[in-house]
Amino acid sequence: MKLSLNWIKDYVKIPDDMDLTRLAYDLTMSTVEVEGVERLADRFNKIIVGEIIEVLPHPNADKLRICRVNIGEEVKDIVCGGSNLEAGMKVVVACPGAMVRWHGEGEPVEIKNAKLRGVESFGMICASVEVGLADLFPAAEEHEIMDVTALDATAGTPIAEALDLDDIILEIDNKSMTNRPDLWGHYGIAREIAALYDLPLVEFEKYVPETTEEYDVKILDADRCPRYIGAKILGLSVKPSPFEMQSRIWRVGMRPINALVDITNYVMLATGQPTHVFDSTHIIDHIEVRCAAAGEKLQLLNDKDLQLSADDLVIADAEGAVALAGVMGGAKDSVLPETESVILEVANFESRGIRRTALRYDNRTEASSRYEKAIDPERCDQALSMAMELFAELYPEMKVTAFKDLYCNKLEQKEIDVDFDWLDRRLGKRIPQDVVKAKLGAMGYEVTFNEKGMHIIVPTWRSTGDVSIKADIMEEVARMYGYENFEATTITTSFDGAINQLDTDLVRKIKEYLAFRCNMQEIFTYPWMSEECVNALMPNTDGVLALATPPSPSEKYIKSSLLPNICKAIVKNERNFDEFDIFEEAQVYLDKDYTDDYPGEKLPCQKKHLGCAFVGNSDNISALFRRAKGVIGMMPRYTHMEGYTFEKVEKPYWADETVWLNIMLNGKKIGDLALLSKKAALACGIKVLSAVLVELDMDALVPFKSRTNRFVRMPEFPMNDYDLSFLVDSMVKWDEIYAAAMSKNNALLRDVLFVDEYKGKQIPVGKKSITVRLVIGSDEKTLTGDEIEQVANSVLKRLTKTIGAEIRA
């Protein structure tokens, strides 16, 4: 919202020597965020009034003229293509150094002396659009330059001075005052400034109608319309409003239209209370405020044709809706070129209904955005008073012939008791009671002291929801006293034990293990899953929760598994990388096992899951699989939690027929590790690469209370590696080989390690070559070659016997 400081000064006497930076800072700290302070005249730097002495033809261009222009001290030649140039005319001259917009478009550019078609030109004679004044001086056609002959200003006068634009424009962040309906006009901000600096505030006189004739107003829904003032005014006409009024409306970002409309906008910008005028000849019989009939039709001022909902509040006459209450007038019944009499509306509408209607038709307006903040009905008085004064000023002949103030629902002012003791404790500081009373009083609070503290009556304009409890009063006192005037205090705390959060720490340990030890990259995905991947990875969507208003129709389901989105991430990265490992830790949601951990709600099952993808070329699935299994297999050891095992219990739907494992903890399945089947990969859109996916229920993991690593003495005598290669049937599993090798309890055989597996050339079909490494050693002595050989031979014998191993020829 933009505010004119001159306008604010109508209501509060701000000293002329007030430091504006300070004012903006104080407002920002205590009330609303001031985003900008602009000296209006700065926009018109080096733009002055010039008087054309003579218009000469341009030797080299038909459409250009050379104007001899008096710019005050001297006369200059300016080349110009304007269509309305005449000797004796006063024009706007942008001197070198001024900023203008060429034809009103693009970024402002700096004017420089230039040669135009071979003729030297000093600056530029401007069209109104080029100096940002088109709203105040509309041009009849494109090449018309701005004519200021009517101004009482001599050549050389800065245009800002000639147009009386010596003003400061404050730009307020609207978001910082959504809770303050009282601030959406100049008067409200003036009240805050008055309270901040202890300055007097101008009061409005209440309007007393002269006529006793009652205008016929009916309110059919008093909850939606607590108050409606209707006044029939004759003796009017459609004409431009005075320049000063137009100028103020323009300064704060609206467009002057004509005097009747300008009055309503001016009143709204001043008081924050929207008003409206109808052409009274178009209002049939009376005005009624009611909810629309479903399907009722209304054409708005902006020509939108609406089919109304029964939830819309409308202003209607005997024949039907004439305006969308609090949002916008109808096209047919508002001010028309021939309007000579109006019905002035000053009304109060319930906020939420106005918001619903404005959003329903995507038609938010200056009026609706104010109403939806909850304006108090008492403010109608201010707006009425000001509107009537302006009508009388602009139309001395005007006459109010009928009037009605139908005030059905009076607003209840909030009353609050505040203990001084409480206030002191919360503020951490004692503020003198007279200071408290004065500050609150300046903001409109009625304060009376009693034994323990004060009784406060909240002003109507703060009683629509903004202020209702003593904490609100404390805030009012603190912000007016100045948040910066409170000394910093240290945090006092009691120490009752160190923080020990095993589960929280485990999540972090796992993530850091994956990222830093296993070189995987953490990713984040949205909670909604793309349907494509859902269909590829899940047999059905039973038990999957969905959004009522999803981001897109194909992203309706929310995560019951992390894998669909991880697959999507694979698709995305496949283009740039041919090998990568990613993981995500996030919540999944299931439409089952509802819990009531907290009073007042039942929530669906929600768990923390870990999802991983190990992605690489399809030519070495074994390596890919082992990469994944290594990372997941070693995780319990390096993150200090209870270990789990891999078993084949139930194949995941999305998994390859052969390459899959379940992750088991204490007999319960807590996750899967498997190769994504080719079919599922293609359905997800993964074109080339293969992926081993892992999904794990992190809530099932059990962190150790402390570290369980145990020191083992280093062997005193050397351990010997002994590699052994042999052929076995290709269906024999490593687990069986290991079990067979280790089956006899031989103290010298320390371990059997997997080295390599080979199938292919030189290996008979149906067989595979396995290389293992035997770790052989003794605690008592250094073994001789013979002794080592003996152990190895016994292992080989066992392997031959149990799993049919044969030494490769």
Binding site: E33, E512, E522
Partner: protein, 345 residues
């Protein structure tokens, strides 16, 4: 002769020391001890000498000869140790092998930095469920009925759970603040905890707006906690995260679940508060809302607001990370694009 010999020894020693390669040394050796070497030439002159001095001079020359030979061998050893066995064309400008490096998401990194800072000040870390009832998302937090935020255009309601009472209606949490009530309901005061997490808003996205984003909230609840102590807390945390003293200011702000509410600004670190494009020329950057928990929120947690008060802040993690690295599009955080994510490892 004697002087000649002394000079020769001195000169020879210098030449030996000056030799930088074995080849040079060999040359020096030839010049001194070779067939036409200076020492050899001297030896040739002995027969011309007086017989009486011959033995003495012969001895002296041989002595010099031996000394020089010894020095040459010493120098040869030194040069051998100094020399590299690697051919001289070895290129040290070849880039190193890149270790394969993974990493945490930049938001996780920032979150952990904050966790560490808060932990050091005695805060617990808490996390709540992402699907919440309307009751915990709004009612408990003092949002009036029909508050605009409750509408489906702002909140993601769940299908089949989007009507009925506040306890029946379920949504993806629109903010974290509801979790603070959950924590307080299940723990004993005084409280000191943080509850980071992801929240969801149904809105149109652009470079500055996302449907899923990260918040980091911290709450202290105790008897008679003043807002100025809160300011000290924020200053400590930010100074820890940014590694330097950060000026902080608190100004009037409004949020339904706090009273009074503040907008908290930190001094712009780019310009040091002088004003630059990053801080829109005001020297301050708005980083978080905060305030005293609204009495109704404390009541929802089962506390007497006359007895307890506190301090709350809500740090926008995405924004803090964007500031930390100069990221200009918030949507990148959920892009899963490894080209982006790997930049922060």
């Amino acid at each position: 002769m004697k002087e000649k010999l002394d000079a020769l020894l001195k000169e020879g020693a210098a030449k030996i020391e000056a030799a930088q390669t074995e080849a040079e040394l060999q040359e020096v050796k030839g010049a001194l001890l070779g067939k036409q070497g200076s020492v050899t030439e001297l030896l040739k002159e002995i027969p011309k000498l007086d017989v009486a001095v011959r033995p003495e001079m012969g001895k002296a020359i041989n002595n010099v000869k031996n000394l020089l030979a010894e020095q040459i061998e010493g120098r040869r050893e030194a040069l051998k140790l100094k020399a590299s066995e690697i051919p001289a064309d070895f290129d040290c400008t070849i880039p190193g092998f890149q270790p394969k490096i993974g990493g945490l998401h930049p938001i996780t990194q920032m979150c952990y930095d904050l966790n560490d800072a808060f932990r050091s000040m005695g805060f617990e870390v808490f996390s709540g469920p992402e699907i919440t009832s309307e009751y915990y998302a709004f009612d408990n937090l003092n949002f009036p009925p029909n508050h605009p935020a409750r509408e489906s255009m702002d909140t993601y309601w769940l299908e089949g759970h989007d009507s009925g009472s506040a306890s029946d209606k379920l949504c993806l949490r629109p903010h974290l603040t509801g979790d603070s009530v959950r924590y307080m309901q299940t723990h004993k005061p005084p409280y000191r905890f943080v509850y980071p997490g992801r929240v969801y808003r149904n809105e149109t996205t652009d470079a500055r707006h996302e449907r899923a984003f990260f918040q980091y909230e911290a709450l202290i609840v105790d008897k008679d906690f003043t807002y100025t102590a809160g300011k000290v807390m924020i200053k400590s945390i930010l100074s820890k995260v940014f590694g330097q003293d950060v000026p902080v200011r608190m100004r009037a702000g409004f949020f339904p679940f706090v009273e009074p509410g503040f907008e908290i600004d930190m001094g712009c670190l780019v310009c040091g508060g002088k004003g630059c494009s990053v801080c829109k020329h005001v020297g301050w950057i708005e980083i978080m809302p905060g305030g005293t928990p609204h009495p109704n929120v404390l009541r929802a947690a089962g506390l007497d607001p006359d007895e307890y008060t506190g301090f709350y802040v809500n740090i926008g993690l995405d924004r803090l990370v964007m500031m930390r690295y100069g990221v200009d599009d918030v949507r990148l955080f959920h892009s899963t694009d490894l080209r982006f994510l790997k930049q922060f490892n």
